[in-house]
């Protein structure tokens, strides 16, 4: 018996969510008195894989792109050979393409977007967010095999000692049916879903020409920029920056909202942030009810002060 974690090791750096998933898997393995195997694909070097927090890493080098069907075959095959009872994924766009397929194939109950470790004391229960973060639910998994898709940024990383055994997977996974034609790289900044600090602005900024200080503050804090839906709809900002119920849901450590009213649909995408700071000229703006820190004032006067303070902080650290 073992615990299995599916991870994406492509690219130069190991993503934070991958380290979180390995930590999650490690804790589940320890709680059930067993070992942790990671399964991955692509061309990551052996040293990089051996350094991961797992007992064993199985890599399918022949698979280059993220084809949900090939990767499902890979995970199912490794799950069988490793006798895995619990399979952990990250609830990101890759995890969403593979985890439910693996669950359906193995008739394994899936907890999508888990925010806690499993409670295995009586039955098998995991906590997850529902109603776009407005509530939480305990999901009970009844099947012998369990699939858990872990929400990024929901537990602190533990690095482990490394020394994983690396094995190549050579089984037949069939041909990819999703043919990737092109990858249009996003700008140089930190991708929004991975950012720990997000500076976000809304209609209170009056127009796209006023975004320079928002970007500058984000850069000084080493964060990403985001925006409210009307701002993206009016093409003031790119669509991928739109956060909320109908945009991206994020859970950074720090969310700074400038000139955003805090409509319930906006909050639905950001209310899982650890700390929320709100700058709005209207003291009655609903966002203050969801905030940890607030400033009532004009964004155009407040932003320069924040930029100055951020420069000072950077000079000190």
């Amino acid at each position: 018996m073992s615990v299995l974690v599916f991870i994406d090791t492509r690219g130069e750096k190991v993503a934070k969510a991958v380290l979180e998933a390995l930590t999650y898997g490690r804790k589940v393995a320890e709680a059930s008195g067993t070992t942790l195997t990671a399964v991955t694909f692509g061309d990551a070097g052996g040293d990089k894989l051996a350094a991961l927090n797992a007992n064993k890493v199985i890599v399918a080098r022949a698979v280059g792109s993220a084809d949900g069907q090939q990767l499902t075959k890979l995970v199912v095959s490794v799950a069988q050979s490793e006798d895995a009872r619990i399979i952990v994924f990250v609830q990101d766009n890759l995890g969403k393409a593979v985890a439910p397929r693996v669950a359906a194939r193995l008739k394994a109950g899936q907890v999508a977007g888990a925010i806690s470790l499993p409670d295995m004391a009586n039955g098998f229960r995991v906590r997850r967010n529902v109603f776009s973060g407005k509530a939480q639910a305990w999901v009970e998994v009844l099947s012998p095999i369990k699939v858990i898709s872990m929400m990024p940024n929901s537990l602190p990383i533990e690095s482990g000692t490394g020394g994983a055994v690396v094995e190549e997977f050579n089984g037949d996974l069939g041909a990819a049916r999703i043919i990737v034609k092109e990858l249009r790289a996003a700008g140089a900044g930190i991708p929004l879903p991975e950012a720990e600090i997000v500076v976000s602005a809304g209609r209170g900024m009056k127009g796209p020409e006023n975004w320079a200080p928002v970007e500058e503050l984000a850069q000084l804090l080493r964060g990403a920029t985001a925006c409210s839906r009307p701002v993206a709809d009016m093409h003031w900002r790119p669509h991928h920056e739109h956060v909320g119920q109908t945009g991206v849901a994020i859970r950074p450590n720090c969310y700074i909202a400038i000139g955003i009213s805090g409509a319930i649909q906006h909050l639905a995408g950001v209310n899982q942030s650890k700390v929320i700071a709100v700058i709005n000229k209207d003291p009655e703006a609903p966002f203050f009810k969801a905030a940890d820190y607030g400033i009532v004032g004009d964004a155009f006067e407040i932003l320069p002060k924040l930029i100055e303070a951020a420069k000072k902080l950077n000079a000190e650290r």
Partner: protein
């Protein structure tokens, strides 16, 4: 082109969230129900646009009880040709996917469109599970979809940018923002919806492998700490020294 659109019913985005029966069920009392925005704005409308441009049919399908009928009528009013409701009370996403798979397996749909997720359950599961049961490719968060002959061209947000992919149909697609613009049903559509077919089918037997045992509301937020505008810079200081998040 034969298109199937998965339609789910969810509480209005501003609905109060509370629970009943010892926190084991959502209290829908007095709540306005709407079509899940991703299903309505993106999956259904893009399906209709493709049909209008290239010919074919759009069937909508819902798994649930008779309390879904207003939602189904809305999909018909926006333009779906016919509707199917599978009369089941699913416990989790897999049961939804299994019911739809039983219906769709011998119907030769070219394209199956669903929302990227429901705004109440937030699972992002049903589309991928259905694709696995039907042995079709699936992409979970697609912002742009074109079809030419038998080939779909799709754009998705992935780690590091936007990925452009080509897939031979049939396939299942999770639809997200960017794919289409919301359509408001007009009077003619609403009238026409009354006479369009709504086929209610019995549920297939399925096994329950997961269920929601209980719900909780998050702990109430502590009062917001206000910083005077003149001392705005202090916010950065507090985020660093007190909250320790920057």
């Amino acid at each position: 082109m034969k298109i199937l659109v998965l339609i789910s019913q969810v509480p209005d985005t501003t609905a109060r969230i509370s629970f009943k029966d010892n926190n084991t069920a959502y209290d829908g009392n007095g709540v306005t129900w709407i079509v899940n925005p991703y299903d309505e704005w993106y999956a259904l409308v893009r399906g209709l646009e493709l049909k209008e441009a290239q010919g074919g049919t759009v069937t909508s399908i819902t798994v649930g009880g008779a309390d879904n009928d207003a939602t189904i009528r809305k999909a018909l009013a926006i333009g779906a040709d016919d509707a199917v409701r599978i009369d089941a009370q699913p416990n989790d996403a897999f049961e939804v996917a299994e019911q739809i798979a039983v219906y769709a397996k011998d119907k030769n749909f070219d394209l199956i469109l669903c929302g990227k997720e429901t705004i109440d359950h937030n699972g992002a599961q049903v589309g991928a599970m259905l694709a696995e049961l039907l042995d079709m490719p699936y992409l979970p968060v697609v912002g742009k979809l074109d079809v030419s002959g038998n080939t779909a061209t799709l754009e998705s947000d992935v780690r590091g940018g936007v990925e452009v992919a080509e897939v031979a149909l049939p396939m299942v697609i999770g639809c997200a923002k960017g794919m289409a613009e919301q359509r408001i049903p007009n009077m003619r559509g609403i009238m026409a919806a009354r006479t369009k077919p709504l086929n209610v089918l019995p549920a297939a037997p399925v096994e329950s492998i997961a269920r929601t045992a209980s719900f909780e509301l998050p702990p109430p937020k502590q009062a917001c700490r206000m910083i005077p505008a003149e001392e705005a810079g202090k916010l950065i200081e507090l985020l660093h020294t007190e909250a320790k998040v920057i």
